[in-house]
Amino acid sequence: MIPHRINKSAVQISAEVISNKKFGPYHHMVFAVGEMAANSRPGNFVAIAIGDSQSAHILRRAFAVYRAIDKGPMGGSIELVIAPHGQGSTWLCSRTVGEFVDLIGPLGTAFGVPSSNANAMLIGGGYGSAPLFALAELLKNRGCRVDMVLGASTAAKIFAPLEGKRSVSSLTLTTDDGSAGIHGQISEAIPRLIREYKTEVIYSCGPMGMLSAIAKIAEDFDIAHQCSVEESMACGIGVCMTCVVPIKYESGIKMVRTCIDGPVMDAAEIIWDKKTVTDLLHS
């Protein structure tokens, strides 16, 4: 029998938008969520319904929690960083203060914190940096050294708010087009930085390609690597089996749900190579 309750602190609420500000190409949005905030850990996400009851969009969209503030002036609040991409996220970004959205959270696994203090490197791609700032604060309070590396295709797409930088020992930026920081893909810079900062554990969040490249590096250096993955999710609560990633299992493969066994997962367990997965599926 399963020992722990699944979705154990998740609740469905109608959450008021209390702030919505453009931040470069992203929207920084704050929602009044009451007690939910107290249960949210860095790495958790929330799932938000799109449109009203007459919307042709029937599925929720998942968003990583950027910050959860337990007791603010408005009660508990949760903050998200949203890239207006397709119809769902664009709809959400156009909600104005005072409107309500249907929100479920907190969901999924959280980043695990090392038992003794360690040198941690936090690597974020695009809006993937969002959940890393709260993690940085947590790690710093535990006495860890926190080196942060943020990358994006171009300078404008790096999400790195001023106050977020407080908790980090170093901050390195990379851009594919060289418009800020190191020129190149984020993963290219990582090996050198690992050596420089004597990194003992990596935390990452961003596009699957980036996570996969970092996983390879972490394996080479033989250091622990927790990544927050992003697969298409229909339900966010573990009932639909759409959001799976392949992990190594006995001599084969097993599909695990990234909404309840993730989004934060041990990168070493995941089978990153698409071809290997296809081969194993058809063997």
């Binding site: 229909a234 573990g238 639909c240 959001c243 599909m255």
Partner: protein, 310 residues
Amino acid sequence: MTTLDYSTKIGSKRFSNPIFTASGCASSGQELSQFFPLTDLGAIVTKSIMTKPRTGRNTPRMAETPSGMLNSIGLQGPGIDAFLENDIPWLVDQKVKVIVSIAGETVEEYGVLSRRLRAVSGISAVEVNISCPNVENRGQVFACHPDTSVAVIEAVRRNIGGELPIVAKLSPDVTDIVEIAKSVVNAGVDGLALINTLLGMVIDVNTMKPKLAGKTGGLSGPAIRPVAVRAIYQVHQAFPNIPIVGMGGVSTGRDALELILAGASAVSIGTASFGNPNAAMLVKNQLSDLLIERGFKDFRDAIGFAHRGV
């Protein structure tokens, strides 16, 4: 306060209310138990189980469509052993009514699964999924043809023994669903589950390839409700005494009532639970209000009412 007898029957089994979960849309139950007590459901229908553990298809496994979605899970599951060891005892322990859905690649596999279920106590019915579109070969969709449908149902009947009601789950992707229904009714099923998903495809116009790794997937959600209502209406008209577990795009009490008026004795909530984990409870409460408003004292008087006139 007006009271409503909300109970319903499938074969010899009685359920406290007609709102079930749909197979594959409630996993094994525990995930939803955070949101409402599972005992408030008429029954939970488990995800279709096969003999062996099954990995399922590659990702992406879903695509949202207008008022619907495609899925291609490919019957991922732990296999009957792990299922009987972990999932069933938990549900039985919680006193949840359980309908077990089974799926096989061959007629024999259905027989094997039925034999395994025979001895299990605490199960209220078996739903025989002969209509999953997410198989490599559409020739494997038994519900596409009367003879293959009958072969499976007979294998189940022979092996399951006792009086566990057998419900056959049919596909709407056939030329004549009444003909398929007729074949399995004659083969002795106690009920029918209508409808499974419609075969569909979405092409990603950026990659210019099918969006799902499995190319095709099953279409579900409100988009397909008119097809579900039609199928239920046709089959209930032909076999008014065979209980139907209706499903397809139900997300409100109004929707459930529509399927019931068409002829459903119970209604399963599928895709709606993805958008709203509390959908089944919402439907249950709204439906009971609507029935009472319309003067029904016994839920069963509403079944197939659209056929009878006022």
